[in-house]
């Protein structure tokens, strides 16, 4: 639900960078978003485009690279991928945050919460 404020922040940053670069147009925006953020990527893309309307970025293509989740184990320090298991009864995927090496639940998320503007493509 905070996609709107996130999108607004992204657009502010894009326009500030475009101005620093004296860009006449921004034609492409590349974002990296973690799969463990609570963002709906389609919504972010929609609202970024919406806020770019009427600016140098109004025709920009929005490209989102999803970043997989990882956890680091507090017991053995191993880093594991966050496995996503399909739950057939819920029709929903439940991420597993367990350590792959020692099986501990005592882990913390070390990757997958990114919200990064990677690059913009500009025309001068």
């Amino acid at each position: 639900m905070h996609e709107i404020s996130v999108a607004q922040t992204i657009v502010n940053e894009i326009l500030a960078e475009a101005e620093r670069q004296s860009a006449a147009k921004v034609t492409r925006v590349v974002l990296e978003l973690g799969k463990l953020t609570m963002l709906n990527f389609d919504q972010v893309s929609f609202w970024v485009s919406a806020f770019l309307e009427g600016t140098v970025g109004e025709d920009a293509e929005i490209s989102i690279t999803p970043v997989d989740g990882s956890v680091e184990c507090r017991e053995c320090k191993a880093i594991s991928d966050v496995l996503v298991e399909d739950d057939p009864t819920l029709h929903y995927s439940v991420p597993q945050f367990t350590c792959e090496r020692c099986g501990s639940h005592n882990t913390f998320i070390c990757k997958g919460r990114e919200m990064v503007i990677k690059t913009i493509r500009i025309e001068r």
């Binding site: 905070h2 992204i10 670069q21 953020t37 609570m38 439940v94 503007i117 690059t119 493509r121 025309e123």
Partner: protein
């Protein structure tokens, strides 16, 4: 011809929130304040559980509460009736508190004597999990009336919390929900501690208050 080029931006848009959160954290450390970020579903009993903790702890500790809500007045009045310092934050359209709201709420308050700060976040299991406030412990509260699938539907907030409270177990039967399942699901999601409680009947409230005591700075 236009000159086309790709410009590296590498801007993490959460960096501002992270920066303010870490400033909040240093501020709390310096002033010896232990901070609890109380997240959870709408109407799950966040205010009731904080009120209970206040009653148990207010003779030994000086307590303040940040009541974050779309309209904060209602919960603020409830907290104020216990004689603690209340810092209302009306979030307006926002669905969560962020570090800046907290910084702002602290600006006009004398915090020197405060030991414990409870921050009641906006009722929502989605958005608050993306925003660090500078807290020492995160608590997520759900109640059986949300249905016993609610935990598995929102795994990330449980993973990111230090304690899960499954409240209103007194009415579990009436709403056909299993509190045991919800507690087990929270552990499956990677929360290290989960307790069933009832503000009505008193079940689990001792452990709730123990959690707070164990988290306090010594």
């Amino acid at each position: 011809m236009h000159k086309v080029s790709d410009v590296k931006v590498e801007q993490d848009i959460m960096r501002i929130n992270r920066k303010i959160a870490s400033e909040n954290r240093s501020f709390f450390e310096k002033n010896g304040i232990t901070v609890f970020n109380i997240m959870g579903a709408i109407g799950s009993g966040k205010t009731c559980l904080i009120e209970h903790a206040i009653e148990e702890l207010k003779d030994s500790y000086s307590i303040a509460v940040i009541a974050g809500d779309v309209i904060a007045q209602y919960d603020s009045d409830r907290f104020a009736s216990h004689g603690v310092k209340v810092l209302p934050v009306s979030t307006g359209k926002e669905c969560h508190l962020d570090a800046h709201f907290v910084e702002h709420a602290l600006e006009h308050t004398d915090v020197k004597d405060i030991d414990i700060l409870f921050i009641e976040n906006v009722g929502n299991l989605i958005c608050p999990s993306d925003f660090d406030l500078g807290e020492d412990a995160r608590v997520v509260i759900v109640s059986v009336s949300e249905g016993d699938d609610i935990v598995l539907k929102h795994p990330v907030i449980f993973k990111l919390s230090d304690l899960t409270v499954v409240n209103k177990v007194d009415i579990a039967e009436h709403v056909g929900a299993s509190a045991e399942k919800m507690v087990a699901d929270a552990i499956t999601c990677g929360c290290t501690r989960a307790i069933p409680t009832s503000c009505r009947k008193g079940e689990g409230l001792e452990e709730w208050v123990s959690f707070i005591r164990e988290t306090l700075r010594t």
